[in-house]
Amino acid sequence: MDIYPIVFHFFAALVTISALGVVLMPSPIYSALCLALTMLFLSGLFFILDAQFLAAVQLMVYAGAVVVLFVMVLMLFDLRNENQPFSGNWRVNLSKLGVIALGFILIALPCTYLMKASNSEWLQSRGLETKKLAELLFSKHIFAFEVVGALLTVVLIGAIALAKAKGGTHARTE
């Protein structure tokens, strides 16, 4: 028996449920934690598609760094009162569901159309080994790679400038 489709759909369902949790959870902290779970399950999906390196990047960069930053920042603010506007209000929940439905229609339907058009060959040709990825990155896409380095530096300098901007707790005193 081939258990591959079972595991794939199990992970796909987990990703969907935790992504819904991000939108529907009343508290921002719980939303961020659901986002971390989404990243975890997404990396599981990458893993069973043989993309081990992407799975690891998903965990290291997204779950291990970006979402940790979100959670840290949310914990710095006093968010206990922020729950009220987002919970116990049927109008809010209804509008959230409406937005989800709209997004589903806008994204999922074209996707299914495209998948049919491409004869779903992409599912057969799964597997993006780390080495193949690296060979592509350092031959064909070398320019993009160097530009990413410059972009990261620009982001770093921007973050420092923002943290030192006027009125901040660590504003430059001159």
Partner: protein, 123 residues
Amino acid sequence: MLDQLLPVIFLFCVVIVFGVGMIALTQLAGFKAKKNLVKMMPYESGVPGQEAATTKVSVKFYLTAVSFILFDIEVVFLYPWLLVYSDYIKPHGAFLLGSMGLFVLVLVYGLIYEIKSGALEWD
């Protein structure tokens, strides 16, 4: 890849069952004592709490986390690079060394700027 993922999923479940089981067991077996207001207060060295738990925190934590993300991406790029570097060191070693050297130099410039600007000073 499924061969390698399924044991991990199984272990994940084992850890969760172990953890939840032990916590449930200790909740059941643990000593039961009466609750009172003072006991339920946040611990603060024996005096009543002075300020709320969520107090103002230095922006430095935020800055540290942002710079961590950026340098983490750099580290992540180093891993596929070292695979191709040790494989193709004979024909393309100089090119690979140069391309990664440029990438790292740009980020080292960012690091030097960060150190010089005092963003990493904790006071």
